[in-house]
Amino acid sequence: MKSLGSIRRSFAPWNDPGAVPYIRFENVTKRFGDYTAVNDLSLDVYEREFFALLGASGCGKTTLLRMLAGFEEPTAGRILLDGQDLAGIPPYRRPVNMMFQSYALFPHMNVWGNIAFGLRQDRMPRNEIRQRVEEVLKLVRLEQFALRKPHQLSGGQRQRVALARSVAKRPKVLLLDEPLGALDKKLREQTQFELMDLQQDLGLTFMVVTHDQEEAMTMADRIAIMDRGEVMQVATPAEIYEAPASRFVADFVGNVNLFEGTVAGREDGRTRIADDRGMSLLVNEAGGAPEGAGVAFAIRPEKIRVSSARPAAAVNAMEGEIYDIAYLGDMTVYHVKLPDGRIVKASALNAARTSDDPMTWNDRAWISFAADAGVVLTR
């Protein structure tokens, strides 16, 4: 099987049948009165994974994280950490530490005090605490700020203190709730890679909650897409992007075109999808859908080629009119209107400074794509 995307991962314990999951959510449900935040959710996370929970607000991702940290107890189901059932164990006895969205730095203590706080609760000897705090300060490059109080620090510095505080006790699992949300764009990009490096160096298991796709796609080994308390798909970023499991996932991450139709038959190992408005596509994978089943063909804009003339060797080609153009500098997104009224998004990289096939609004144009350029979705 060709590997999806251009990145080969050598770290993939989820593919190893012998690997035992480090964190296991078993049929976890959480209800607040009438409202169900998490619904019969099961999930496995492996040791040393950088795992992301991605979803819109209200999808239950933060609730799941808080249940792992111990601030909420599941209404039903179990949570296991390294084989141990966490039920009834309060947060101050779990080998799990959390980095809060608002950082939650203690305002009446300086940086040193904040970092040492957790170590003091363990009644560590004084000199060991000092050693550890200095270690951690060096890790996040805040040595000169040790005596400052939180209000004397910038936003980025506060974030690093929060991070330092949460790794000081060498927890088995580090939970991060929207860690980059409060940072500006430049800082966010820089911090993303710093977090990834930190995770590798410390060998910890990270679990991140975020609503930002880019963040999840950049940092995570695997992502769980959540919606309304349920997991829609758990996979690597490449798999999620190139092989989404449902319309929801396909639409959630990045841009996608969905061609709805029914399976109309098979030709030379490929499947034909057609609809009653004259569309007819020839695609590779049909996901085992039987003839007559209602399916959607999901294809990303960058996999569709736009040209002013019909390309000779295209397997799928349709003619339409350029309805709208969005020039984004590094690429151009064409909105092409097909005769049946459907609008298809196709993007082209501006790889050269001039275009050899310039098109403008209302021009006649052809969109074309290969048979393996997208996936067939049955859900």
Binding site: F71, R93, M98, F100, A104, F106, Q121, H151, Q152, K169
Partner: protein
């Protein structure tokens, strides 16, 4: 609200504050009046301050008042803080509505009712009325003011600080003493000062709950007012005002200095 003072605004604030402070200013001025009559100015003199020092009963009353205020303020702060915690942290317990009603009712209830009811209690229990009963009465009616102040601080308190503490290994009790308490401390201090002032100032409740043995300063002043005043009253009032004003001004200055230093620190943090 956008800042932007119109002439009407300036006028109304000035008039309002003048109204508020005029009687106090006049009181202070006339404490230095050489004449006995409050309304005829006869020249500057400090004789009333001198005679005040020799006024044994007045000084004794002041001493009683001070002791009662210190004791009751401290006890009321403890009880009021506990009440505020109970109301904000425990959202469901039996009798919560009754508890909440009892905590906030004294805020608005007329003093005469509070005073009368407490006196009847002391009589029914056979307590001898004196300093102890005044203190108990003061604790009861000032604790609700403390509760209001502390509760308001607790409501805006960031709970994630407590969660962070627990996440790092602190039990709920340790979290309270190491994180929550230090952060809400200013509100608790403010509550103490409020309870202290209310106790210092109270006439009605003290009158009901005091016995023949105890007289507080407000009670003394009140009885003197009925009999006919000398500017000695003005003198002691001026002293009290002076003490309070100094305390408040000092506290404000200390706060201002701290605020400025904090602002300077924050600016330094954002510099490259």
């Amino acid at each position: 609200m956008n800042a932007g003072w119109s002439r009407f605004n300036v006028a109304s604030v000035s008039v309002g504050f003048a109204f508020l402070y005029l009687p106090i200013v006049l009181l202070v001025i006339y404490s230095f009046n050489a004449s006995r009559l409050v309304t005829v100015w006869a020249g500057f003199s400090t004789r009333w301050y001198v005679s005040l020092i020799h006024n044994e009963s007045m000084l004794a009353a002041a001493w009683v008042t001070l002791r009662v205020a210190l004791l009751s303020a401290t006890a009321a702060t403890v009880l009021g803080t506990l009440a505020a915690l109970a109301l904000t942290r425990y959202t469901r317990f039996r009798g919560r509505v009754l508890f909440s009603g009892m905590v906030f009712a004294p805020l608005v209830m007329p003093d005469v009712i509070i005073g009368l009811s407490l006196l009847l209690l002391f009589v029914a229990l056979g307590f001898d009325r004196g300093i102890v009963t005044i203190t108990l009465a003061h604790i009861t009616f000032t604790m609700c003011f403390v509760a209001v102040v502390v509760q308001s601080r607790l409501l805006s308190f960031d709970r994630s600080l407590e969660e962070a503490a627990m996440d790092l290994g602190a039990t709920p009790v340790r979290t309270f003493f190491q994180v929550t308490l230090p952060v809400i401390a200013p509100a608790i201090v403010a509550g103490w000062m409020l309870a202290f002032t209310l106790s210092l100032d109270d006439l009605v409740i003290a009158s009901f709950s005091a016995g023949p043995g105890a007289t507080t300063l407000p009670m003394k002043i009140y009885s003197q007012v009925r009999l006919g005043v000398t500017p000695e009253i003005n003198a002691i009032c001026t002293i009290l005002i002076g003490i309070v004003a100094t305390g408040v001004v000092a506290a404000t200055l200390v706060n201002r200095r701290r605020e400025l230093r904090r602002q300077r620190d924050e600016q330094a943090a954002h510099a490259p």
